[in-house]
Symmetry: C2
Amino acid sequence: MTRRLYDLCGIDEELRFSPYCWRVKYALAHKGLDYETQPWHFTDKQELAFANHDKVPVLVDGDEVVTESYEILHYLDRVYPDRPLLGDTQAEARARFFKFYAERSLAPGMMRTIIMDLLNAIHPKDRDYFRETREKRFGRTLEEFHSPAKGLSQLDQALEPLRGLLGESNFVDGDAPAAADYLLFGPFMWARIVSTADLVSNADPVYAWMERMLDLHGGLGRSAMRIVDIEGAYDA
Amino acid sequence: MTRRLYDLCGIDEELRFSPYCWRVKYALAHKGLDYETQPWHFTDKQELAFANHDKVPVLVDGDEVVTESYEILHYLDRVYPDRPLLGDTQAEARARFFKFYAERSLAPGMMRTIIMDLLNAIHPKDRDYFRETREKRFGRTLEEFHSPAKGLSQLDQALEPLRGLLGESNFVDGDAPAAADYLLFGPFMWARIVSTADLVSNADPVYAWMERMLDLHGGLGRSAMRIVDIEGAYDA
C-alpha cells in the first residue's frame, strides 16, 4: 500500500510551497510514516474529484481519503496513536487555536510581503486563476495589496506572543515539537520557498525556532527546493 | 486554615480590577476552593515582604506562599489535581501561549483604550506611582498614550484568531472552560471593572464568550463591583 499526498507545485514540479501541505508533511514525518507526493496545480480541480474536494492537501491512505490539513492531523492521531500530534481533549482544544493564529494573524502579514514573489513562483497555467481569486478576496489588485512595509509591521506585531513563549522554550509544544509547531510553521515554509524576504530578525527567539524547525526530521524543511534554487526564476 | 489571596483594590476597597488576580479568582472557583481576599494597593509593597514579592496576586494557602498568576494555576493543579486547569504536559505547554497572547496582544490594545479610566479607578494614594511607572514603560505621558481609536483597532486585529476559534466552540478550552479561558479573560475583567468602553461588537463570537465567562461559577465576574456602581466615580 502506498500512502499518497496531493501537494501543490509551482513553476518547477519540485517547488512545493503550500503552507497547508507543509503541515501535513511535518506531521507524517513526526509519525514516521512513509508517503509519496502527487504534484498538483491550482487548476487541476478534476484530479481531486474523487475526494469531493478542490484543494490540497488530500491524503490517500489505503482506502481512506482525508482532506484539510487540520483534519489530516486528527486522522493521523486516530489511526496512528503513537507520538501524538494534537493530543488528548484539552491539548487538542488548545491546538486548534494555533490553526487560527497561523491563518488569521501570521499568514496575512506574510502574504502582503511576499505576494508578488508568490505569483512568480506559481505555475504559469495557474497564474490567472490565482490572480482572479486573490484579487476578489483582497478587494484590490495584487500590486495594490503588495506592501512589504505594512506586511512586515503587521507580522511583527502578530509574532509578539510567540516571541514571548519561544524566549522560554524550544518549541511551542514544549521541549519537543508537535501539532502547534507544525500548524504555525506551515506559513513560514510557504514564505521561505517562494521568497528571500527576511520575515524575522536573526536576534528574535522566533528565528532560532525557525532554524530548529528547518532541522527537524532529517532537515525536511531545509532540504526543500526554493525558488532561488531554480536558475533564472528569481530576480527580486 | 484560611486561604488568602492578596488582591489589588481601587478607589473603593471592593473595586478589584487586576487582570492577574482575576485569573486566580476564576481558577480558585474552577477548583471549588474557598478563599478570602486581602485588599492591597500598588504602594503597599511592605505588606508583601513576607512573600519576597512586590506585586499581586499572592496566594497564601496554609504554609504555602505562591506568587505570579501562572505559577498559582500551576500550584493549584499540583496540590488540587481534580478539575485540571493547565492539564498534562502537552496541554500545559500550549496553555502557556495564552498567557503571552493575553499580555502581549490583547492587553496592550485595551490599555490604550482604557488608560484614563484606569487612572480614575485607582486609589488616590497609588496614582503618582501608577503614572510614574507606566509613563516610563510607555515612553510618553498617559495622556499621549491614550488613544481609543488606535487601541480598539489594535485589539480588533489581535482578536482575529480568537474570533475564529470561538466561532466553532463555546470556550477556548473546548466545551468547558479551563486555564486558557481564564488566562485570556483576566484582561477583559480588568477593562470591564474600570471602564464602559465597548471593546467588542455584540455580534462578535468573542462577545458571546465574554457573556458566558461572566456567568460562570455563579456569576463571579458579572457580580463584581464596577466603577459605574460607585456614585459619582465615573463621568466619562
